[in-house]
Every structure is written in structure tokens, then in C-alpha cells.
């Protein structure tokens, strides 16, 4: 029934529009085509002028309304060192293009108005003008050269991999439909080898536990990182493309099955500091639940987030993980609480896995190796691995 009414409304509207069209056409004929055209010129050229003005004002007003979301302005500040240079470049580009945007639009709408059709206006016969054309080829060329140089400079800095001997934390983010698996290297600082064919429910990364580097790896459910320390994320995918996306850190890199990629960045603002910074913005000071004055503000509830930015299927929009940036001390405290995946989930559990047609034990040592016991040397950041003396073939070496 409602469908019928809607249909009827549409038909009515169509008839009304056609009638308006018809009537204006008739009056135009009565008054003469020439006059009708003249009137159209007046109205529409003025219309363009007004539209142009409103449009340009709207651009400025909307930009200030959304200031907190714009890079470089407001509180959308980059939380990584590398990201800040990107925001700078963004702003430089915004200024250059903004100038061009305003000049060309003003000319476009002004000329449309100024040279609206008038009887007896003589037209300027100007098929070309070499000097003008030279200028407006050369000026963009110069500006763009500048932007290319500034851009590539930033790009090559941001994309630089870690150098030999540099101090950094390496972690792994592995995308699957529809979640991110996270892996930390454990006290030895090294991620263990993987083989996608070993993936099972109890071994989501398909780790090959004969690799001693992997015995202490642990799989947290959020990314925790110390502020000011370089991080290298190894980005991998299990099934289809995903994209490791940390909006606040300006990172984005595809996760590709079979081809590991990486991203290097240095967090520079802790979660707590970012919350305080956000609290400067009115918008972020709104309560989460406006009806409850006791509820926390948006800023207080803020968290950095990991998202997926490459369409990976129907759950693409839901691949969320929280990222926490903390002080070095908090980081170390957190590390202490983490436990090796192997020790807790694989060791002597009796699971089986089929590799190239052969059935193998998921725990390659079938319980014979005691889970590595990790002790941190209190005087240095180096770690030692103490292992049970009765273990046979325990391949754990520092």
C-alpha cells in the first residue's frame, strides 16, 4: 500500500515537472526565444556567481568545522615521528593547491558572470596567446617540481628499513579473515620460523617449533609498545590481502599471503599523552553517554587502533585491535606478564598436523623439552635462557 502511494507521488511529481517544463517553454515561445535566452543568461550567470561564492565560503567553513580531523591542524596529530613529516607535506600541498583552487574558481565564476550573453557584445577573437600559455605551463611545472622533491624526500625517509645494528623491536601482524593475529618475539628478540602448512587452531601462525627462536614467541591480543623506540612490524597474511593500518601513526601496508612486507615507525606519544592532548578539543570532551554525567569523555576512552584497509571480505570492517603506547617501564612490566605460546598451548598437548601428506606431532619434541624458562638479567637488557638440564635435543640457544 505504501509502495503504491510512493509510486503515485513519484508519478505526480513527474507530471508536475513536465508541466513546469512545458509552461516555461510556451512562455518562452510567446515572449520570443531571444528574450528568453537573454533572461536565462542573466539568471544563470548570476546564479553561478552566487553559487561560486557560497561554494568557496562553504569550503572554508567546512574546513574549520572539521579542523580536528584534518592532518596538521587540530588534534589529529601524528602519533609517530615519521607521520609528522607526512602531515607537514600534506599541509604544504594543501596551501599550494588551495591557492590554485581559489584563483581558478574565482576566475571561472567571475568570467561566467562577466561575459554572460548580451546583445551586441563583441567577442574577443583570441585563439591563443603564447606568452600566457608559457606562463601557465611553467608555473605549475615549477610548483610540482618542488612538491615532487619535498614528497620524495619524505617518502624515502618514512619508508627506510631499519639499518644494520640498529636497536628496534620486531613484531608480527598477521591478517586473516577477519582478525589480526599478533606475535611478539619474546625475550630473545627474534621471531621464530613459520610454515603456513602448520597452521592449526592451536598454532595460528603455523610456527615451526623446531626453530628455537620461536619457542618464546607470545601472541598478545593488543599491540603494546614503548614510546620513542623504533618498531619494525613484519606484516603477513594468511588467506587474502589485508592492510596493516594504524591511522594515528600514518602507517599503511598491504599484508600479502606469501610475500611478507614490513613497516618501520617510532611511536612518539603515549596513549595517555594523546588522551590529554585530545581533551583540549571540545568535541573530544563530550561524554560517551550524554545522558550520564558520570560517564567518561571521549578523550578519556580514547585508544589507538589497528584496522584493516584492504578489502578482504564480508568482515573487513571489523578487524580491530587496540594499540597501547606506554612508557619503557610499563612496557617491561607488561612483557614480564606475557607467556610463551609454545609453553602454554603446544607443549605436550598431543595435537597432530599433516604436512605434505605426512602426519606429524604438533609439538615436535612431543613433550620432551621442558618449556623454556626465561629469566631477565637485571643489569642489562640482554636475556639469558635457562633450560631444564634434563632436556634432550633442546635446541634453545641464545
Amino acid at each position: 500500500m505504501t509502495g503504491l502511494i510512493i509510486l503515485l507521488c513519484i508519478v505526480m511529481l513527474a507530471i508536475v515537472i513536465i508541466q513546469i517544463g512545458k509552461v516555461t517553454e510556451l512562455t518562452a515561445q510567446i515572449r520570443g526565444e531571444k528574450d528568453a535566452q537573454k533572461e536565462s543568461n542573466e539568471w544563470n550567470s548570476k546564479g553561478l556567481l552566487i553559487f561560486g561564492a557560497v561554494f568557496l565560503i562553504f569550503c572554508v567553513v567546512s574546513a574549520s568545522y572539521y579542523r580536528d580531523d584534518m592532518l596538521w591542524y587540530g588534534v589529529n596529530e601524528s602519533a609517530s615521528v615519521e607521520g609528522s613529516s607526512i602531515d607537514n607535506l600534506f599541509n604544504i600541498t594543501l596551501i599550494c593547491t588551495g591557492i590554485v583552487f581559489f584563483i581558478t574558481h574565482i576566475l571561472l565564476f567571475w568570467f561566467s558572470y562577466k561575459y554572460r550573453g548580451r546583445e551586441g557584445r563583441t567577442v574577443l577573437y583570441m585563439p591563443h596567446d603564447n606568452r600566457l600559455e608559457m606562463i601557465w605551463t611553467a608555473v605549475p611545472a615549477v610548483v610540482l617540481t618542488f612538491l615532487v622533491i619535498a614528497g620524495l624526500d619524505t617518502w624515502n625517509d618514512v619508508m627506510a628499513d631499519v639499518k644494520e645494528g640498529e636497536d628496534y623491536i620486531e613484531i608480527e601482524a598477521n591478517g586473516m579473515q577477519f582478525a589480526w593475529n599478533l606475535r611478539y618475539p619474546g625475550p630473545d628478540g627474534k621471531l621464530g620460523a613459520r610454515d603456513y602448512k602448520r597452521i592449526t587452531a592451536s598454532n595460528p601462525f603455523g610456527q615451526d617449533f623446531t626453530d628455537p627462536k620461536g619457542l618464546d614467541d607470545f601472541y598478545p591480543d593488543e599491540i603494546v609498545l614503548p614510546v620513542g623506540k623504533k618498531v619494525r612490524v613484519r606484516i603477513t597474511a594468511r588467506d587474502v590481502l589485508h592492510n596493516f593500518y594504524l591511522p594515528h601513526f600514518r602507517t599503511k601496508m598491504d599484508a600479502i599471503p606469501g610475500i611478507p612486507t614490513y613497516w618501520v615507525f617510532t611511536p612518539k606519544i603515549t596513549t595517555e599523552e594523546y588522551r590529554q592532548m585530545l581533551a583540549k578539543s571540545d568535541e573530544w570532551n563530550e561524554k560517551m553517554d550524554p545522558s550520564d554525567p558520570e560517564s567518561k569523555t571521549r578523550a578519556e576512552m580514547f585508544n589507538y587502533e589497528l584496522a584493516c584497509a584492504e578489502l578482504c571480505g564480508k568482515g573487513h570492517y571489523s578487524m580491530r585491535r587496540v594499540v597501547r603506547i606506554v612508557s619503557q617501564q610499563e612496557y617491561e612490566d607488561w612483557l614480564k606478564k606475557q607467556q610463551s605460546w609454545y609453553a602454554n598451548n603446544v607443549h605436550n598437548k598431543g595435537g597432530k598436523v599433516v604436512i605434505n601428506g605426512k602426519e606429524e606431532s604438533e609439538d615436535p619434541f612431543e613433550g620432551k623439552v621442558t618449556p623454556v624458562d626465561v629469566v631477565k638479567d637485571s643489569t642489562s637488557t640482554a636475556v639469558t635462557v635457562k633450560k631444564d638440564s634434563t632436556a634432550i635435543a633442546a635446541p634453545v640457544k641464545k
Binding site: 572539521y66 600534506f90 557584445r121 574577443l124 577573437y125 605549475p140 617518502w155 603456513y196 585508544n303 571480505g313
Partner: protein, 617 residues
Amino acid sequence: MAYVTETGYNEEVLIKENGLNDHFHDHHHGDKFQSNFITTYIFSQDHKMIARQFLITGMFWAIIGAAMSIVFRLQLGFPEENMAWLRPILGKWITVDEAGMGRLAPEFYYALVTMHGTIIVFFVLTAGLSGTFSNLLIPLQLGARDMASGFLNMLSYWFFFLSSAVMLYSLFLSTGPFSGGWTAYPPLSALPQASTGSGTGMTLWLLSLTFFVVSVLLGGINYVTTVLNLRTKGMTLWRMPLTIWAFFLTAIIGILSFPVLVSGFFLLMFDRGLGTSFYLSEIFIGGKALENVGGSPILYQHLFWFLGHPEVYIIILPAMGLVSEVLSVHARKPIFGYKAMVMSMLAIGFLSFIVWAHHMFMSGVNPFISNFFVLFTLIIAVPSAVKVFNWIATLFGGNIRFNSPMLFAIGFVSLFISGGLTGIFLGNSAIDIPMHDTYFVVAHFHIVMGIAAFFGMFAGVYHWFPKMFGRFMNEMMGKIHFWGTIAGAYAIFWPMHYLGMAGVPRRYYRFDTFEAFKHFEDTNKFITVAAIIVFALQIVFVINFFYSIFNGKKVTDANPWGATTLEWTTPIEPGHGNWEGNLPAVERWPYDYGKNGREFIPQWEPLAAGEQDGGNH
């Protein structure tokens, strides 16, 4: 029309005396090509009829594609609203729970987004735009009886039709059409386990687009051949209207890039059907590890974007050509810098082949390689800027006649500026890091390509409607259409820049899963409402179009706009072969408006003694 003054020439006499007698009418007594209903309206080999077929099929798809966008915009703007009322149309894709609450299934959201992109990019803005106007104008503006091969031309349309039919069929599959994005990246598109749409839906998608490429190639070869061989007497390359230059370059770009796309599709079909590993490696999906190793999904992206980037110029160049022509005719002034316009199109055409990896900055290619693609990409902005300045200079000192085609042409220039400038952000790889795959990209390409190309197409339809159907479109409806659409289009896409800057990713079914993205409910509602209004205004255009075919004001003057180009020397409703007697001969360039105190001097009027041809400088 108002501005046509008595110019003192008589085209019939001129064509009789100076025209080219190609003995066309000696051989065609009675028209064996247009003798009955089927050969006239269905399997027609007449370029004008084929143009109309492309246009109307394109409009059909435009309505479908736009309606799809309204459905997924409803999801984004009003995710909590009950969508049960859509169930009669969308069937089981709307899931209704016990409380009667209807929701759009996520799979179907992605299917809609995918189909919207595919349909608009290929069926509407490639076939509907270039197919329509290349067919209509190449023979008419060059003074040719028809395309080089009317038969291939007919096949071109029917392959498009076949392609359309297959795609349309895929919409009704029980597993739904393909849903992995219009770019169809594997492994998602290669593995039926990865998504329901990647099964039969994807098979049909590939089949449909393969037919589509056949259509584009048949059409393109025809356009190129016609432009090179069938120009009338005196029509040198430097006397061709910019429309023809645009169609010509578009066709060449299409011929060079579409086969690469098909090769990419074939490898994908092999991976899907024959167990090869071109794009697949080390995949664990559906509880099983696949055997495929050694393939690279990045290879597909290279093959896709090697077409994909030229494709965006395949879409925009014809629009640029149409707009250049319309601006000049209605400003009553020569296009400014004709040669610079051609040269910049050539430069854009050439450069469009060496910038494809700017879509892949974040896809895992070596960051060093990106340096070159940044450089080439930003160089493209130079010829693009030249074109913009030249359009603006064309208005300077004119005597502008404001009607629907002119308004849309001016709107095009504004949109092209707005969207082109955001390209400069994205082309700089460093800025593309935060912007890639966010709403900033959505804003960029919808403004510069989507809306701008539609504006070019509207300008073309309003301007050449009299040639196509012998009647005018209604001006009042045209103006309602223009004013609503320009304001509405900016209202839809401008705010998306801010969403993108805030980091909101595209292709998200809902935003409330993330703290960072969920706070734009109002913006998203606003965008959705604007989209609905703009959609409604397009219905005004459709009504106007069909109403005017039958009831529009009749054209009485063969040259109603006072234009200089040859299509206006044909009879008001040209038959097969276009001209009744000799072909018109061309004596000068196509942009002599306002020269020597005359409102316009048509191309077929000989140069006066001592007069310089305007194009030669």
C-alpha cells in the same frame, strides 16, 4: 536560435560547389541497410542508431548503478534503520530478525559496492559515454558517411549488450554477484572459499568484462580507422574538432591498455579453474592449506592498473572533448589554445601509461620504484592544469549563452579542478600513506572522474540531442537538473575529504566497530540525504530525455546553436549516409567564432583572400 545571425552564406550551394562527391548516392538506391524494423532499430549498422543504443543502454545501467549506491548509502548513513521495506526488491539480502528489523547483509553491501563501481566505470562512463559520442560524432564531424566498418560497429554494441546481459544475470545468482571490489584483487577474487561472491558471481564478472573488452576493441579499431581514413576533403588532423581528437586518443589508449587487462583476467581464470599459481602463494583458508606457492597477488595489480589508470583517462578524455566543444560554441568564442589542448591530451595520453603504480604505493612494491611513479604522476598535473587554464581563458571575453549544455560544461571545469587538485595529494606517495583506501580517495575520484565525466556526458547529451532526435530537451528541466546536481554532488563528496583525513577507510560496512571512525554519524547522514536528492534529480533528466524524444520542441534550423562543425550541415534528421548530396568539404579550423566581426564562420566556408586559418599557428 537567438544568436544565429544571417551570415550570408548558403551551405547547400557551398557543399554542392566545393563539396566532395563520393558517388555515395549512385550506388544506394533504396537503403539496403535500413529496410526493416530489425535492421533499423536492432541490428543496425548506422552509427547514429548505434550511438543511441549505447546511450540508452548506458542510461539503463546508470539508473541501476546509482540506485545501488542509494541502498549502500542508506546502510552507511542510517545503519540502525529498519530496511525490511527493501525486501520485496532485494529479497534475501535483507535479513529480517524476529522483531521485524531488516538489515542489509554485509556480503550484499560489498556486492552492491562492487557492482556499483564496475557498472559505472565500464558500462556507463566507458560504453555509455565514449561509445555514444564517438559513434555519433566521429562520422558527423569528420564528414564521413558512416564508420569504416558498420558491421564491426554493430558487433561492438552487441558485445556490450552480451556483456551487460551476463552482468545483469549475475545479480540474480543465489550466491550473489561478485563482491570483492571493482578492482577484483586476488586472492579474494580467486578463491570461492574467501567470499560467496567469488564463486559463480566472479566467473560471470570475468566473462562479462571479457566480452566488454571485445566490444571496446571492436569499437576502438573502428574509431581509429575512421579518423585516419574517412575524413572529408580538407579535414586535416589540425582541423579536427577537439571532440574528435579526444575520441581518437581515447580509442588508441583503449586498444593499447584493455588487452593487458584481459591478460590479467585470463591468468586469474587459470588460477580459479586450472590450478595454476600466478597470483596465489602460501594460502591457508577454510581450514586447509592450499598447495599453490610462488605466485604474486601484486602481479595482478600491475596488470589491472596498467589498464586501470589509462581507463580513467578513457573516461575523462571524451568528456574533456565534449566540454571543449560546448564551451567554445556557447561562449561564441574560439577554444583558447587549440594546439595546446591537443598537445596536452597527447601528453596526458602518453603519461597515463607510466603512472599506474600510483594505485599501488601501499601494496608492497619496492618503495624505491615508487619514486618514478610519483614523478610521472605529478607531471600529469601539468597538462591537466594547462587544459583548465585554457577552458577558463575560453570564457574570457566571450558572449556566453547560458543553457543546459553550457552550464554542465562550466560545472565540469569546476569539478575537474576540485578533483584534480586532490590527485596532487594522492600522487605524492608520502601523503598517500594516510590517504590510501580512505574516503579521501573516494572523494577524489568521484569528483574528478565520476561526477565530472557525468557532467561532460550531460553537456554532450543536451547539446547534441537535437542532432540525435531532431528535438530539443526541455531547458527548464535541464536547469533544475544542473543546479540540483552541482550543489548536491559537492554536498555528497566534499565532506568525504574530511572523513578521509580523519582516516575513515573506504569499503567499510559500518563504522561503529572503531572508536576512530564512528563519530561521523551526522556527516554520513548528510551525505546519504544529499545522495538521495541527487538521485531524484537524475530522474528529472531521464524524464526530460524520454519526454523530449517524443514531445520536445522541434528543431527547425539545421544549425540551431550557430556552430561551425559539419554535423550541423546534415538534414535535421539525417538518414543513412548522413548527407543527401555531396559530402561537405572543409576549408578552415572548427573554432572561428567572433572572427572579423562575424558571429561564426563555419568550417565549410572557404577562407577569404589573405585570411589566415585559425588553427595554423
